[in-house]
Symmetry: C2
Subunit: 521 residues, 2 copies
Amino acid sequence: MTAVRNVLFVMCDQLRRDFVSCYGASPVPTPNLERLAALGVRFDHAYVQSGVCGPARMSYYTGRYVSSHGATWNRVPLSAAEHTLGDYLHVAGRKATLAGKTHVLPDTKALARFGIEVESERGALLREGGFTVVDRYDGHTPPGPESGYAAWLRARGYAGADPWSEHVIAVEAGGSVASGWQMRNVHLPSRVAEPHSETAYMTDLALDWIRAQGGTPWVLHLSYVKPHWPYIAPAPFHAMFRNADVGPILHGPQDGTAEEHPVVRAYREHDESLSFAQEAVARHVRPAYMGLIAQLDAHLGRVLDELAAMGRLSDTLIVFTSDHGEFSGDRGLGEKELFYDEIVRVPFIVCDPDPRADATRGTADARFVEGIDVVPTILDALGISGASHRIEGRSLLPLTRGDAAAAARDAVFSELDYGFRRARRVLGRAVRECRGFMVRTKDWKYIHWEGFRPQLFDLVADPRELADLGADARHDAVRARLREQLFDWMATLKRRTTVNDQAVADATDAHRAHGIHIGIW
Amino acid sequence: MTAVRNVLFVMCDQLRRDFVSCYGASPVPTPNLERLAALGVRFDHAYVQSGVCGPARMSYYTGRYVSSHGATWNRVPLSAAEHTLGDYLHVAGRKATLAGKTHVLPDTKALARFGIEVESERGALLREGGFTVVDRYDGHTPPGPESGYAAWLRARGYAGADPWSEHVIAVEAGGSVASGWQMRNVHLPSRVAEPHSETAYMTDLALDWIRAQGGTPWVLHLSYVKPHWPYIAPAPFHAMFRNADVGPILHGPQDGTAEEHPVVRAYREHDESLSFAQEAVARHVRPAYMGLIAQLDAHLGRVLDELAAMGRLSDTLIVFTSDHGEFSGDRGLGEKELFYDEIVRVPFIVCDPDPRADATRGTADARFVEGIDVVPTILDALGISGASHRIEGRSLLPLTRGDAAAAARDAVFSELDYGFRRARRVLGRAVRECRGFMVRTKDWKYIHWEGFRPQLFDLVADPRELADLGADARHDAVRARLREQLFDWMATLKRRTTVNDQAVADATDAHRAHGIHIGIW
């Protein structure tokens, strides 16, 4: 019997792994994440399935690679045919509840085709990717009708049609109001008081909801929209760090051994790269980004305190992670995407309250973990059988519970569809010709780009991925081997989703039982 | 403007290409198929996307590869999220009508999840893969409640609870009734008169339906269950051919250059291979198989006569093909599957009534064609836009209309999931470890088998695929090149199905228009 009754699945948006102090040198101290790591296992090689919100999250929620769930970028709806954490829990009579962001786009065309009213109970679940919603708030645009944040702000005196634009991401500069969209303003504090910021609001909502559950078991996805841009932090977090705290910035381009890869070069033409490539901009923005992380850490401290006070730390599985990282000027790039570790390698902590996990508490685990492992881990913890014919991730409980026989992954995989990005136009490609696939093994990272040469990094000799060996003739054999690994991965993606493995096993060679006698004399 | 108002999409089941006389030496004369070929283009290199009914047909109906539609074998339901010919026509206010077999298994779990009543109009369409049904009859089991064939037989005096088993596939032997399941009986005539056989019944139904349409444009899928087993032909077709007409049989195993491939070897342990490996069995069964083909040809003659009489040949696009072939003892194998040309290369004739196709009438086209090309060809002919983000086939009208600039495929692809077959147990594999992928180029056929060495055939030196070069060291470079082609194919399968290409193009770099200002100073 597992001790797990509840699940808290915490996600941050655009939180970079090396800006979290439990992972070593970080420009931001994150004492509460260190506290969380002490309660569980800190995974050091956790990778997301795409370096951008939508596809990464759909992998987190379905337990499937991007090529399998098909939501290849932010604006791509999650197919109604996909099953999410909420769906699996639903079948078992439980719910996945959401407070915060999911980035799920509803497959409205399928709903119309199936005659499902978007406002019906079934429609709402499909629209929300299987989550039952306390408050959905996807951030970085004015809260839509689905979120209570705007009304909540107004009730606290932040007037206006759009209190988010006017207060949350706005600042006061020289006697007038200025927008946080302009990064020149991010050294100034938000016009909302800290307790009214996005991070505080969502933490309050989550804690209220957890308290309201009383003794009823629950599964909550607490999904923060920060430290994602706009990079406006409330006081005092806006001023907690100064440019001097930022430390060195990795200038770009740095690919020493070969001409820079065309796709990377194209990303340099995005607005965010044009800005962040200027060191002064990166040094101006990072303190705000760091302040937002410090604020998040403080609120995670509140969550931990409350869970401890309620006695929930002993029966709650906690998963903490991020949907991807952020360049913040490193390599002369801004934002996210591509396949560098700054983006696809994320913080990932699992606190398994089961006594069998006691021996691993406070340890670091260097084995590979993927975002798709979250769903099977949660289902395993709750004793709910998943769907082995659909879910491509693996439960991490054998790792937290020290099962020495647990098979470790020998590689992790990530994908990108840049068809929606300016880079596509820069490169003159059709929307269907913009796919990249990464395989990362212990020693190497290999990236297949449709229509271009691959990228290759020697992670032993070059852990910062500075020398792209993708065109280096001395590495032909390495590339061939990694490409082979990518081939095998593609060939074994889970495509047969409408019938499960047991049914196939039961039906094997069973035609005679159905009165079909093939080829008998 | 196209002249095409109607579409007749004729499919046979298990009809082998070299048993059709318009493709050269055939043991069966098929004069009506020659007549059909004279009206259009006979494609000489047409390949199905899997060598077994279900997945091959789902590719025909969706225009997508098996890895994309996910119905990897016969008993795998077609995902409700897939769009079929009927769906595309439906959106354009038209219908795809079915008379015969589809092998579509409804995705009942999805229907239940979406709250769609199976008996509703929407449920019926989803259940039937988008077809509106005149009569669905999948053959080789007693006609289910969906088919009118059993009642039709009873009305013609064939009494009994199961007139199919008792009459259609039954014979009289030595004064008693014997079953056509036993191949020893296939030299005897069916207990039904020829006009009451499956092929005659479905032809009557189709012609009645076409006549009833009057001047209303129509799209009909006339889908015969023959010459698929049970190999019982009605008189006089049962006796039209004798063992001597069969000609040489290709004994197996023949793979001279290497040990026979393990998957092929495992298929030898299937009942049908154990039987057909005996030359006497093959020589006993083939005349019945050939008789069924001759009967089919005769009924296709009726169809052509009627269409001519109705004036429909001038405004009806006709596509004629088969879902796969049949070993019939060649290579010592029975039935189908695997990737030899006897199975995956099919007869394929397109009669395009448009005057622009006049120049190609009666010609053979050696360019590659795939089963997935049928849907885009029909949609193109009717001026209905398909869905380029989902459909992986190509319209063949540029080929029938002699567009010299039409890009020819340089390869065709096919897949197999043998997880349901005895071969899986023979090989000791899990249900998820049984995938094969074929790429066939002009000169080579390469097959990737999960967990085993590949197969390779030199189609120039060895057009009958007798020498498997899959382990031949002299062909390392060829295999690497073909594997690369398979890699590129897998990497470019159409995974983003919920948003179309134009929407992506329109949304490219468009965040500023939505008030999102990323990374501006």
